[in-house]
């Protein structure tokens, strides 16, 4: 079964979760002896094909146009469907980013099927595609089988390993007959880009602050610790609902689901909806005054103590340790 991967480009760069999806496709194809193609869509993206080759692409279908500079759901879906028809793929993979999750639905719609979102596992058995994915924000996992072909899947970032080798990909320009209607819900511009900030769902380390920090001003302690670790910033639902921090930082059932290598929860009690969103993190550190806080049940390491004292001490020591 041939596999097609959509390569997401933002600010002229390939998104790492797309390379993770491509590496996974390449591993699956290696087992099944099938071809891996990539749909590379955007403006001035052609030169990125070599990097895709190194991550396992056999062929890269380039759809390059100034009109594709910003994401346009219908046009991008059309480009991916075009690549799919060329390759004859049995599965179409993309990263479960904001764009990938949106596009997965659009591609599935265009092909008369539906997609499995945010998959943490996928396999092919007897010519059919199966996926494992979190439901109820990770309180449970579902195994689903596709009744229709091709299977469309988005893969959760930080779950599959990106693997770089020495391969090269054939590059094929793909002509797509776009119409005006394909751009009717296109983005006109990208606004308020948080330059240089680490994105929560893709971060290797996350520092999250909870209501126990006491005030919006005290989030400075979280920010300083995160800065030493190069970590992304998280917040609990209570903090977001209080208006202390923006929703884009919320971790948990009505926020983001994350799976970093290291998750540090500062003054977070550990409500069930929060735990659901971060429990697959590899190492969890909890700092909380209350020894009975549920967060300690999920934590790999816990410190019982006042975050306002413990966190600055931790930041100082880490500064020294990481500098040496």
């Amino acid at each position: 079964m041939n596999l097609l991967v959509f390569a997401e480009v933002r600010d002229g760069k390939l998104k790492r979760p797309s390379l993770e999806a491509l590496s996974e496709a390449s591993r699956l194809a290696g087992k099944a002896g099938s071809k891996v193609g990539v749909a590379l869509v955007g403006e001035g993206v052609r030169e990125l094909a070599s990097m895709l080759g190194r991550h396992g692409a056999g062929v890269v279908f380039v759809v390059d146009s100034p009109r594709l500079r910003h994401y346009a759901p219908e046009a991008y879906a059309k480009a991916v469907v075009g690549a799919h028809r060329k390759l004859g793929s049995g599965a179409i993979l993309m990263a479960a980013t904001a764009m990938g999750r949106d596009l997965a639905g659009g591609v599935a719609a265009a092909l008369g099927t539906s997609a499995a979102a945010d998959c943490t596992g996928l396999w092919i058995d007897g010519g059919k595609v199966f996926a494992r994915r979190p439901v109820y924000a990770g309180k449970a996992y579902a195994t689903v089988g596709f009744r229709t072909s091709p299977a469309v899947l988005s893969l959760r970032p930080n779950v599959f390993a990106a693997q770089e080798g020495t391969g090269t990909a054939a590059v094929e320009d793909l002509e797509v007959a776009f119409e005006e209607a394909d751009f009717r819900s296109a983005a006109r511009e990208v606004v308020q880009t948080a330059q240089g900030k680490v994105e929560l769902t893709e971060a290797a380390t996350i520092v999250t602050g909870g209501r126990g920090l006491g005030s919006p001003e005290n989030f400075r302690l979280r920010d300083e610790l995160a800065s030493v670790l190069g970590a992304a910033l998280g917040a609990s639902r209570a903090v977001v609902d209080n208006g202390w921090r923006p929703h884009s930082e919320q971790v948990g059932q009505t926020g983001k689901t994350v799976a970093p290598n290291l998750y540090i929860a500062i003054a977070v009690s550990g409500a069930i909806q929060h735990l659901a969103g971060m429990r697959t993190s590899k190492v969890i550190v909890a700092i909380n005054k209350d020894p009975d806080a549920p967060i300690f049940k999920a934590a790999t390491y816990g410190i019982v103590g006042d975050a306002l004292e413990v966190v600055p001490a931790l930041t100082e020591l880490l500064k020294k340790v990481l500098a040496s």
Binding site: S114, V135, A271, P291, V304, L314, L317
Partner: protein, 251 residues
């Protein structure tokens, strides 16, 4: 202006999920049912738009158990009418979209509002699939929505920023938390609950659909390996850093 809001009944965010004996569904015992939180935001936005522009807000819900819990609550919060579609299948967004699209196809709505995802199957697709079936433009993850005559000016959340988009009506919009800076949702009042009883709630069976996904198994995630309390207060910091470095090797 005719507004449709799509609602799903889901376990409340505080619910502890247990798997039923069939291994493919959750055990409903002890579950508090709620309107999916993003759908509640869609209701709030619809009511605010109606207050400004006039018109009618219709709630649409498909429920495999035929429960009207979500619609009753929405009627009490303030929507004008409900359409309950009994049937369908959970955890198959393709099937749900077929059902919803065929029910609303001939009912002329100016705006179709969804939550960005339901918090049970977290599929994030039904709005897109419905829009495609109806041939309407759509955006997901909407964080800002302003009406300007027959056009909608929106923002869509992306990693680290937002995109601005303009859509013609009718269109499909799925709502992200933080939409238009709305922090306060309204709750059913006693008066609202009484008034809801007199509001029309149309009930119909699900139209035929083709399943797209097969749910083979539902299981709980593996337990995390037990952790430990390293110590108390500032004195424990050195030991924590040592463990992160030498044992967990994450520094």
């Amino acid at each position: 202006m005719n507004l449709a809001v799509f609602l799903k009944r889901v376990p409340d965010t505080t619910a502890k999920i247990r798997i039923a004996a069939d291994g493919r569904s959750i055990d409903p015992q002890g579950i508090e049912w709620a309107i999916s939180p993003y759908d509640e935001l869609a209701i709030e936005l619809a009511l605010r738009l109606k207050e400004k522009a006039g018109g009618e807000v219709v709630g649409v819900s498909v429920d495999p158990d035929g429960s009207d819990v979500a619609l009753r609550k929405a009627l009490a919060i303030g929507i004008d009418k409900g359409i309950l579609i009994k049937g369908g299948v959970n955890l198959d967004p393709g099937a749900t979209a077929q059902i919803l699209a065929s029910v609303v196809r001939d009912r002329k709505y100016d705006l179709l509002l969804f939550g960005k995802q339901a918090i049970d199957d977290d599929a994030f697709q039904v709005p897109t699939l419905v829009a495609h079936r109806l041939g309407l433009p759509h955006i997901n993850l909407c964080t800002s929505f302003e009406l300007d005559g027959s056009r909608a000016r929106c923002r869509r959340q992306i990693e680290g920023g937002e995109e601005s988009i303009e859509l013609g009506l009718p269109c499909v919009v799925s709502i992200q938390k933080g939409i238009n800076g709305i922090h306060d949702k309204r709750y059913p009042s006693m008066k609202g609950i009484m008034a809801a009883k007199a509001k029309p709630l149309e009930t119909l069976p699900a139209p035929p659909f083709e399943p797209t996904l097969e749910l083979l198994k539902l299981e709980l995630p593996p337990d995390r390996p037990p952790g430990r309390i390293v110590g108390k207060g500032v004195e424990a910091v050195a030991e924590l850093v040592r463990l992160l470095k030498e044992e967990a090797k994450v520094l």
